[in-house]
């Protein structure tokens, strides 16, 4: 096992990793920018090294500075957390070249999964369902009609050269298909100078469901169930829950097995997440995240596994000490991401924390690096706390969350706690009856 781990991150996730290390008897090195001198992850670490000015590009994204810090402190391994350099294959490779252990997957897997086309190819071959569509450009209405009949209506027509939503059209029937293909092709030609279009199955009201996996260096891989992260605003997850209110036990078991088998086949190691769109009982691959995720705690709550601890263990060469059949899912868990933002306008609100009092009691977990008197710097992400609740059932979980939100005191700046309170009171959320578009409409009201 490692003696000393350098944590190449900040905020709550740096603290999360530090806690795991401390509980394993591993010393920690915090690296930080000048803006984070008083941050909790710096104060609580065994050693701290200032690696640069506030701008992330010169500190938390500065590979050389981080590796120098690892060298001068004599660290054995580096945990990248999420964001920053966590999915940077070059960094992972540099870490290993310098003789440190990268606590995460191999550079090769990070690279493969970082490229959308390669990723889709690799997972498809490993048996993971992807969005069906034409394999390339569709030339004629007949060809399009044949493919559409195969994958089922509605279909979406996208310009091969397109992007940003331009030149995209939805067809609900064979009649519409011919017309829309013509329109899309015409628009594609005028906008992108290339009339080529391709077809994909159109998902009108999908949920975002992702499967957490863990794998070691010895060919063992397990899944830890799913998380429903459909509540998003501008592609940022706001609240996540596990299990998903939309899955039944059979679907859960089936997709979990498919994913675990694929992960084993790919030869992946460490923690990772396969993200899907889910609609009408079917899963469609979006991407794989080759790192620890913000919302990992809800999985820890329902399956009783410390994911960060396991990441550290497997990267030190230890085998997973549980098999798929040892993993039991118990109860329900929800995470509220609390941001330093105006809860209506979502304008970020950095500043100094006045009173700070976290909720306590049964079933409450708070992952946060806040403390009374701390100043939230304006340079980084606005997420300042994760309130995670666990209870026997989804309904009890909602009641407990409501109670915890009402106890949470964060004075001195605006937070999104009121948004979460509004969500708790909303029947659509209470019924678990939302898709990835719902929250955007809800907050727009």
């Amino acid at each position: 096992m490692f003696d000393k781990v350098l944590i190449a991150n900040r905020g709550e996730i740096a603290l999360r990793i530090q806690r795991a290390c401390r509980e394993m008897g591993i010393s920690t090195v915090a690296v930080h920018s000048t803006a984070d001198e008083n941050a909790m992850h710096v104060r609580l670490a065994d050693e701290a090294v200032c690696i640069g000015p506030p701008a992330a590009t010169e500190s938390y994204l500065n590979k050389h500075a981080i590796l120098s810090a690892a060298t001068i402190t004599g660290a054995d391994a580096i945990h990248p957390g999420y964001g920053f350099l966590s999915e940077n294959a070059e960094f992972a490779a540099m870490v290993e070249e310098h003789g440190f252990t990268f606590i995460g997957p191999s550079p090769q897997h990070i690279r493969e999964m970082g490229d959308k086309i390669t990723a889709k190819q690799v997972v498809m071959e490993a048996g993971i369902p992807v969005v069906p569509g034409s394999s390339g450009a569709v030339r004629t209405a007949e060809e399009a009609g044949k493919i559409a009949a195969e994958i089922g209506y509605p279909v979406i027509i996208k310009a091969t050269a397109g992007g940003g939503g331009r030149g995209m059209r939805v067809a609900n029937s064979p009649d519409e298909l011919a017309t829309e293909l013509q329109n899309a092709s015409r628009e594609a030609k005028s906008v992108f100078g290339n009339p080529d279009c391709y077809l994909e199955k159109y998902l009108g009201h999908p949920r975002h469901i992702e499967i957490q996996v863990l794998a070691d260096n010895h060919g063992n891989a397990v899944h830890l169930g799913e998380r429903d992260c459909s509540l998003q605003r501008r592609h940022q997850k706001v609240l996540e829950e596990s299990p998903s209110p939309a899955l039944n036990a059979e679907q859960r078991e089936e997709i979990g097995q498919v994913v675990a088998t694929a992960i084993k086949k790919i030869g992946y190691r460490s923690a990772g997440t396969i993200e899907f769109l889910f609609e009408d009982g079917k899963f469609y691959f979006i991407e794989m995240n080759t790192r620890l995720q913000v919302e990992h705690p809800i999985t820890e709550m329902v399956c009783g596994i410390d994911i960060v601890r396991e990441m550290i263990r497997v990267s030190s060469g230890a085998p997973l000490d549980f098999a798929q059949e040892d993993i039991k899912f118990q109860g329900h868990s929800i995470e509220c991401r609390i941001n330093a933002e105006n809860p209506e306008t979502f304008v970020p609100c950095p500043g100094k924390i006045g009173e700070y009092h976290a909720p306590g009691g049964l079933g409450i977990r708070v992952d946060s690096a806040l403390y009374s008197g701390y100043t939230v710097p304006p340079h980084y992400d606005s997420m300042i706390s994760k309130l995670i609740v666990h209870a026997a059932t989804r309904n009890e979980c909602l009641m407990r969350l409501r109670r915890a939100l009402s106890e949470y005191v964060i004075e001195g700046l605006d937070t999104t706690i009121p948004l979460h309170q509004k969500l708790m009171a909303e029947p659509v959320f209470q019924n678990g009856d939302y898709d990835i578009h719902w929250l955007e409409k809800f907050v727009g009201k």
């Binding site: 909790m40 609580l44 090294v49 200032c50 640069g52 050389h64 590796l67 120098s68 009374s372």
Partner: protein, 146 residues
């Protein structure tokens, strides 16, 4: 307790001290008692203690000295400081030396690369803070040139 426990002279003395020194607050404790006096106006607060999580971080190296001196040269990167061009050669500069703008005054090794640190202006070496072969953090004072 009795009122004679309060030493009027001491309060007056402290008040005078406060005025004389331009302080806004004096607190004093001894054994089982303490006294605190304050004067507002410019007083912002008799401040709440900083919410310090308990364990003090062990900075790898953290001399506070000279951090504010305008002639202080701070480390532009994390690395290891070298005061000599090669092992067993004399230091680039010594205290009391005059240096010219752009002159190499030390090296910082980061990622196997030795980065020369240049004097930002001409002047005299007042103090060499970094030690040969010691790790330095970003922003850590290396030398004072005036």
């Amino acid at each position: 307790m009795s009122k004679s426990d309060i030493d009027n002279d001491m309060v007056r003395q402290l008040a005078e001290l406060l005025d004389e020194t331009g302080l806004t607050e004096i607190e004093f404790g001894k054994g089982d008692w303490h006294i605190r006096i304050a004067k507002s106006g410019t007083v912002v607060q008799a401040q709440a203690p900083v919410a310090a999580p308990p364990a003090a971080p062990v900075a790898v190296v953290a001399p506070e000295v000279a951090a504010v001196n305008p002639g202080t040269i701070k480390s532009p990167m994390v690395g290891v400081a070298y005061l000599t061009p090669e092992p067993d050669t004399p230091n680039f500069v010594a205290v009391g030396d005059s240096v010219t703008e752009g002159q190499t005054i030390m090296l910082i090794e980061a990622m196997k690369v030795f980065n020369p640190i240049h004097a930002p202006k001409a002047g005299k070496v007042i103090q060499i803070i970094a030690e040969n072969g010691s790790p330095v953090e970003f922003g850590e004072p290396l030398m004072i040139i005036e």
